[in-house]
Amino acid sequence: MESAALSTFTSPVILFFVLGMLAAAVRSELSIPEPFAKAMSIYLMIAIGLKGGVAVAKSGLGIEMISAMVAGAVLSFAIPFYVSALLRRIGRLDPLNAGAVAAHYGSVSVVTYVTAIEILGAQALPVAGYMVAVLAVMETPAILSGLLLARKGMASDAGSDAGGHARDDLLREVFLNASVVLLIGSFIIGAIAGPDGFADVQPLFDTGFKGVLCLFLLDMGLLAARRLRESRSITWRLALLAVGFPLLNGTLGVLVGAGIGLETGSVAALGVLCASASYIAVPAAMRMALPQADAGIYLAMSLSITFPFNILFGISLITWLARALAGS
């Protein structure tokens, strides 16, 4: 555990994230141009999708992949229910905001997953390629359960006036958001192309991967710390929950992963997916479906507290738990 934690804190990927947070904390003018940050996020999703697809082309489809995908979908749908209950009871949020925040915790963070893959790889814990498909599958169910919870608890129907256009836009955002399309699309491309086809594009999507991840995490560090600094809606109760959720959800993910017989690396990856909170796909869906929900709460919790916690501590803790339960 000690050496694993140490290797996490000497990884350039993590150190660039810390640099971004520190730069924002001291109000440095450092910033990454927005179109470049967006391009990097697209690159990372394509790279991880391609690599996952290539790995599946090598190993073939199996019962493990199906059970992991089913487990991921069920966890993503189920997690928001108890998260919402805790947010209402301990966080003292109204049903609308509790539902919106819960959707973020049931869904996943691609960047947390990518960082975990790098850390697990460095610890000789390979993650099965199909976990990328699990990642994509886990993006959406939580949005549906979050919306169910929020709308069920809303006293009035104000703002849920989903007319034809609004409903179409929401469905498109939920099922065809950019993350899902890129991850599934590049996963299929990787599976079709296989190792031979991937060799042609490997210099771009493999060799440069870690460098781009460093740059992207620098930007995410800046973003996370700036948002936290400017947040006016976060109470100490919500901050506590934003640290507690990844521990609780991550433990659940590890238990389920070990229970369905995944390899240790994949058990840890499922734990990390459950521990992570979305800040790419879900906020956009929430702005459309629940515009009255306070974006200052769900983004500050998922992006400014849970994401840094997972990058700095959560991934190492979940990896340790996965080793303890599934063996190394």
Partner: protein
């Protein structure tokens, strides 16, 4: 001198995910054109906001020019969701050439 006519210039500031909803409302009242302008940062009742393409919480400005009756119809269509959806709608009189186009 070129003849000009009076029309309404309407600006709507909206979160990027809601822009399609706004343009659909513009189309629905029969206004033929609109333009989407990027905006970089600002401050409102909920505090500071920045251009954040990654989280999708950035905003955009939808600009359109319309006749008085169509502008009023658009304001009526968007009024119920201005507060709930955090939109900012402003309009003012402008003189345009080729008034038949608006």
């Amino acid at each position: 001198m070129v003849e000009t006519v009076l029309r309404k210039r309407i600006e709507i500031l909206a979160d990027s995910p809601l822009v399609r909803r706004v343009t659909a409302a513009i189309d629905a009242v029969g206004i033929t054109g609109w333009t989407i302008l990027p905006v970089s940062a600002g401050k409102g009742r909920e505090g500071l906001w920045h251009e954040e393409h990654v989280t999708g919480t950035d905003k955009a400005l939808v600009l359109t020019v319309a006749s008085l009756d169509k502008a009023a119809a658009l304001a009526d269509a968007l009024a119920p969701i201005l507060t709930t959806h955090g939109l900012l709608l402003t309009m003012w009189d402008v003189e345009v050439i080729r008034g038949n186009r608006f």
